[in-house]
Each structure stands twice: as structure tokens, then as C-alpha cells.
Amino acid sequence: MTLTKQHILDWLKACAAEFETHKDYLTDLDREIGDADHGLNMNRGFSKVMEKLQTFETQSIGGIMKGTGMTLMSSIGGASGPLYGTFFIRAATSAANAEELNLSGLLKMLEDGVAGIVMRGKAEPADKTMCDTWWPALEAGKQTANNGEGMQDALAAMAVAAEEGAKATIPLQARKGRASYLGERSIGHQDAGATSSMYMIKALKTVVTGG
């Protein structure tokens, strides 16, 4: 199976719905060790993407991803705005003019996006960031692809790994961003960014597999 333009548009709609549903939960996570606005910010960012979705519809996958990145960057704010914005803009470069992607194309696009987050935020494994969700998810996706399995299986494995990755941030001490100034007091809380990344990966799986 291939990932079509329509899948990408549906994914963005599903992300917007996820953040609308979970905005209070994300903000509560952020209240513990941050500045209590992550859910509000993600919801505002993806609501803005929804407003502009019509103008993206005629474009290639790269065009949709770039438009989404620019919109998120100017509307989420704080540190998450440039991080998620960069994710989509870097992913756009990889997808370029494609109207559909096979599994390796999809993984490459997500990998380039995550490389953008790392380039911007300089995160390392176990720093307690959104990358602690993305890295295991990408690894699971590649593993599944290497075993010769298809896109649906890969995304299902990624969703499981993303959930585990987000949960695994709970015992970590933050070494990046505002939470890093809390030192050991950041231990025992699930990272808000790792959680919002988990919602995005699970939304992609749902859109492609239909459940």
C-alpha cells in the first residue's frame, strides 16, 4: 500500500482532533515541570492548520507539509513551535513533489523531520524530550520494514513504540529546555512534548490502518 496525499490531509485533521481532546491533559503535564501551556499551544497550532487546510489541498505532499510547518511555527510559540515547525518543514524537503509515498519514502520523510528536531534542539537520547518518542518509533518502523512487512504493520509497531517511549520519559531527569533548571525535581513526570509526539504517531497509524 502507499501513503497518499489524502492520508496526509486526514492525518493533520486527526492530529487536530487529538489535541482538541487532550489539550487539558497535555497542559497539566506541562504544569508539573514547565510553564503550563503545551496543550493550549498544540491545540492553537493545529486549529490554525485546519483553517488553512483548504489552501494546502491542491499541493503535493511536500507542499502540504511545508505549509503545515510554517503555520505551526508562527502559531504554537514557545519552544514547541520551532521544533514541530522544523519537523514538518524538513519532512517537506524529503517528500518534495511526491503525490504518494511507499513505506521507505514515509520512513525517510519522518526520519528527516526528526533530524530537523534534533538539529534545532540538540536533544540526545534520554534527555526527556519529544525525541524519546520519535526515536524508538522510527526504529520500530524500520525494523518492521526490514522484515518485509507492509505499511500498516510498520505503523502499528510505531504506535506501540511511541506509547512506550512517552511513558519511558517518566523516570528521566530533564536535560533540555526549561525543565532542565529543575534538576532532579523533573524526575517522576511524563514529558509533555514526548506525549504530544505520541498522539501524532498514533493518529497517523489510525488514519492509515483505519483503527
Binding site: M70, S74, G77, A79, G81, K176, R178, S180
Partner: protein, 354 residues
């Protein structure tokens, strides 16, 4: 909470509108929001910005001999890359744009993103991140030293250099060098009240001072008893003059290859005999009488330690809303630095030599 505001959401918007009404030579772009001055001379445009609440930094420093433009964010919240991108495009005259960034995670991420976006618009762009707050000791497990008062001095000096026709490479080297020669340390007698929060960011007893604060109302490194201003300044100078060998990874934009270069860089040592530009800076709610009283102690303390105060600045320049307290910034100056410092400047909140 009593404040001279209408709605908390409109604080930033209404203050930039007021500024531009008071100083019609400054122009306002409402959406995306930035303040700039028109200047068709062929010089590098020096641009800064950051969360609002630190006024007059940065919007009060837009003027000949200092900033070309500034991008204000909401109170204590970074501006977004689209603001900085559109601002850079508007003020570039072909010689490029230099962005001065204060080292706070949000500011750094948003401004560095803007650097890349400007680059892809074929605008020559560079950035220098200022991190002068010696209250933060560790660069490995935190986001590093914060960017505070030295930003004012560096905006003035680099602004004068830009006015003199220096190119982008030259200005980047100058700004990075000045940053490594700068140190600041702040104290708070009373926390500020962020409009959207409505109550003080932290509580202090009547006889307590927060020692080593930043400019966003976050707590400092420790609390101490008030004592007199002499003993307080003595302790602050001890923090400022000690050579800690602080080093960290500094990023610079590689315009040829379109990516970031990283280099481990160390701040410069201070030693007796150095000439200094000294700023005694109010945090927003400190009377001028007390600032001059503090300056007296700073001046005498530096002289006793063998330093020469070459120039000084006393007043409210880099504030944290209505925080009561002050910071000391020291910048080690050579002859060229002093020439740029003395050069004319004509901004709403810094003006001399006209």
C-alpha cells in the same frame, strides 16, 4: 493586581502602538508584529527582539547608531520565526541582517529558525547569542547562562559599528568577542507581576533578597538577608570578578554551506588594570536614588580591585516588568569598543552625541 492596562492579551500590542505614536520616526508592522526604522543606506541591519516586559530593551533601542528593528513577543514569551523573517526581509538593504539573541531556549529556537528561513530567502544573515549571566554556573545539564544586561551594551556598540559601514562578518566577530568580555549579575528585592498571572512570581520576606536572578521573575541561586547596599554590592562584585573559565558550545551560521558551525568557546578572564564599561541597571521598580547609591558602591569597589571604569550607564535599561532590584553588567573595553560606545546614538531610550 493593579496595572495600567486594558486587557492582558493587548499589553504588547498597545505598548508598541504607543511607542510609535510617541516616536513617529519608528514604523510598526502589525501582523506579523515588528517595529523598525526606514534607512536606505547600504549598511547591515542590526535586529533584536524577545519577549516583552524588558522595556526599554529592545524596542526603545531602535534608532540611528543602534538597532534597525526589533521583534517583540508577548510578555516574557519569544517572538515567532515568521515575525523575525518578515522583519529581516523588510529591513535588509542588501548588506544583510545580524540577529542578536538572548540565551533563553524559546528565543534561541525561534531566532535560529528565522536565520534559516532568511537564508533560504537569499538574505545574508548571521546571529550571535548573548549569555552573560554569571549566576548560572553550569552549561552541561542546563540550557546555559542566560542573556541579560550585556545585550544593551552590545546592541549599542555593534549598532555603532554597523553605522560605520562594517560588514556582516566583521559585526559577527565583534559581537561574539564583546559577549565573551561581558558579565552580569542581578538581585531582586521584590518579584514582578506578569499581567496574565496576576500575582508575584515568588514571595520574599521583608528582610530577604533573591540573589542571582534572571529577567523573567524566576527565582535566583540563593536568598540572603538584605544588609546594606555596600555589603550586597561587595558580594555581587565577588561573583562578577572571579574568573570561572566558563565555556560552552557556540553556534554560528555558515552562509556558504547553509548550516550551523559549532565551536567550544571560553569567556575571557578579567584582571586588575582592565578598562570597563559598567551598567547599573534597574529592574523596573527601583528608584533612581537607590541606583545611584548602588553605582557609588560599584564604582568604589571596582576601583579598589584595580579596575578602571571607562564609561558607565545608570538607569532602567533591561527590566523585568515591575521587579524591584538591579543588575550590574561589566564589559571589558578596548579603544575601539570605546570609540563605538561614544559614537552618536539616537533611539527613544538611548541618545547622545547628536
Amino acid at each position: 493586581m493593579k496595572k495600567l492596562i486594558n486587557n492582558v492579551e493587548d499589553v504588547m500590542k498597545e505598548q508598541v502602538e504607543g511607542l510609535c505614536l510617541a516616536h513617529p520616526e519608528l514604523k510598526l508592522s502589525e501582523d506579523p508584529c515588528y517595529v523598525y526604522r526606514e534607512d536606505d543606506r547600504d549598511t547591515v541591519a542590526l535586529v533584536s527582539g524577545g519577549g516583552s516586559g524588558h522595556e526599554p530593551m529592545h524596542i526603545g533601542f531602535i534608532g540611528e547608531g543602534m538597532l534597525r528593528a526589533a521583534c517583540p513577543g508577548q510578555v516574557f514569551s519569544s517572538p515567532t520565526p515568521d515575525q523575525i523573517l518578515e522583519c529581516g526581509k523588510a529591513v535588509n538593504t542588501g548588506k544583510g541582517v545580524l540577529l542578536l539573541i538572548k540565551n533563553y531556549t524559546g528565543d534561541v529556537l525561534n531566532f535560529e529558525t528565522a536565520v534559516e528561513l532568511l537564508h533560504f530567502e537569499d538574505i545574508p544573515v548571521g546571529s550571535v547569542t548573548i549569555d552573560d549571566d554569571v549566576a548560572v554556573k553550569d552549561s552541561h545539564y542546563t540550557a546555559g547562562r542566560r542573556g541579560v544586561g550585556a545585550t544593551v551594551l552590545i546592541e549599542k556598540i555593534v549598532g555603532a559599528a554597523a553605522e560605520s559601514g562594517a560588514d556582516l562578518e566583521r559585526l559577527e566577530v565583534l559581537a561574539r568577542g564583546l559577549n565573551n568580555k561581558s558579565r552580569s549579575f542581578g538581585v531582586a528585592l521584590r518579584a514582578c507581576v506578569v499581567p496574565a498571572v496576576g500575582k508575584p512570581s515568588f514571595d520574599l520576606a521583608d528582610d530577604e533578597i533573591e540573589f542571582g536572578v534572571g529577567i523573567h521573575g524566576e527565582p535566583g541561586i540563593k536568598r540572603r538577608k538584605t544588609g546594606g547596599v555596600q555589603s550586597l554590592v561587595t558580594d555581587m562584585l565577588k561573583e562578577l570578578l572571579g574568573n570561572t573559565g566558563y565555556s560552552r558550545t557556540v553556534r554560528s551560521w555558515n552562509r556558504r554551506e547553509g548550516n550551523w558551525d559549532e565551536a567550544e568557546t571560553r569567556v575571557e578572564d578579567f584582571s586588575a588594570g582592565d578598562e570597563l564599561i559598567v551598567m547599573v541597571n534597574g529592574m523596573g521598580a527601583t528608584p533612581a536614588s537607590e541606583l545611584y547609591g548602588a553605582y557609588r558602591e560599584v564604582h568604589k569597589g571596582l576601583a579598589a580591585a584595580g579596575f578602571k571604569v571607562a564609561r558607565n550607564l545608570v538607569g532602567n535599561y533591561c527590566t523585568a516588568l515591575n521587579m524591584e532590584g538591579f543588575s550590574i553588567t561589566l564589559l571589558k573595553a578596548d579603544a575601539e569598543t570605546l570609540t563605538f560606545w561614544d559614537a552618536p546614538v539616537n533611539a527613544p531610550s538611548l541618545r547622545w552625541g547628536q
